[in-house]
């Protein structure tokens, strides 16, 4: 592990952090537009700290869905952080306290950055610095977005379209594998079919049936666990 390698990792995490910070601004705007207060929006980013889940909860609440359906969809999206934690667990040394902090920073980007390094010490540096960088920028961006969203009428500037656009940006990296595309197609079709007949928010839960395409082993698709082209706290 050279100092050049460390510098390279640190530069990447700052760049990643800034990109995620800009994305967080759109979350802040969307949350306030959906009726959250500035305080609720900021506490959500501080405590939940997993982007796709936060966006999903806001989207269901804005439509008038129940707390249960908002929570259900958001938690389904949060479940894969358990898999990331499993991946990172043997690599994170330290006492229980350290591991409880590491758990909060276990998201797509920190896992992807860490597993991309060969040297175990560099893996730890990558995990902690990426997690910390994204935590800081995600929360600064959320605050800025919430304050902006609170000050202007979002629909005037088309900011209400920022929410689906953010989801589009989050979706694309998952379409690089055949399985990802199949799961996305089934999810979209199930949602469209059930919107008129099921309570608001529940079609999103039905869409999770799309994951069954992951059941059979497929040697052609190596889409395990981590999305390396992340760049989003999806």
């Amino acid at each position: 592990m050279s100092s050049g390698e460390v510098r390279g990792v640190l530069t990447t995490c700052i760049t990643l952090g800034i990109a995620v910070g800009v994305f967080a601004i759109s979350f802040g705007v969307a949350a306030v537009a959906a009726g959250a207060t500035v305080a609720q929006t900021c506490v959500m980013s501080l405590l939940v700290f997993t982007g796709a889940s936060q966006f999903s909860a806001v989207s269901v609440v804005r439509d008038g869905g129940s707390i249960g359906s908002a929570l259900g969809g958001a938690l389904l999206l949060a479940a894969r952080n358990a898999v990331f934690g499993l991946t990172m667990s043997p690599r994170i040394k330290g006492r229980l306290g350290t591991r409880l902090v590491a758990a909060q920073l276990t998201i797509d980007e920190s896992t992807a950055m860490a597993t991309a390094q060969a040297d175990p010490r560099l893996q730890r540096i990558a995990f902690w610095s990426t997690g910390a960088s994204i935590y800081v920028f995600w929360n600064i961006g959320t605050l800025i977005g919430a304050l902006v969203g609170d000050a202007v009428d979002p629909s005037t500037f088309g900011l209400d379209a920022a929410l689906p656009a953010a989801f589009v940006a989050m979706l694309f990296p998952h379409l690089h594998t055949r399985r990802g595309r199949r799961a996305a197609f089934i999810g979209a079709a199930l949602c469209a079919a059930t919107i008129p007949v099921l309570p608001i928010g529940v079609p999103i839960l039905c869409a999770s049936m799309g994951i069954i395409v992951g059941m059979p082993p497929d040697p052609d698709d190596s889409d395990a666990g981590v999305e390396h082209e992340a760049g989003l706290p999806a």
Partner: protein, 101 residues
């Protein structure tokens, strides 16, 4: 938005993270479960895009959002940065609304 949802989601999301990192850390999970969990974002996010583009509540409804989201899809497809994808969608939606008065 209620504080109950904010705190419930915070607790649930953290529980999943702790479950992997601390509770079952070191053990392995069945590969099929791993593969399926990796597909959750693809299935759910695609569903949310459909919902946000074509419906209001329980009704299918098309308006200026469709143009904004279509522009976002094109931008994302052309590998534009996230910021550009979001700004393009907002710009197209706002422009269409101002034309329609």
């Amino acid at each position: 938005m209620t504080w109950g949802l904010v705190l419930g989601l915070a607790a649930g999301a953290y529980l999943f993270k702790v479950l992997g990192m601390v509770v079952i850390g070191g053990r392995t999970i069945p590969p099929a479960v791993d593969r399926c969990l990796a597909l959750v974002p693809a299935a759910l996010i695609a569903a949310i895009v459909v919902k946000d583009t074509f419906s209001i509540g329980q009704h299918m409804h098309v308006d200026a959002r469709l143009a904004g989201v279509t522009a976002a899809v094109i931008a994302a497809w052309r590998k534009a940065p996230v910021v550009i994808v979001i700004l393009v969608a907002a710009g197209v939606t706002a422009a269409l609304r101002s034309i329609n008065g």
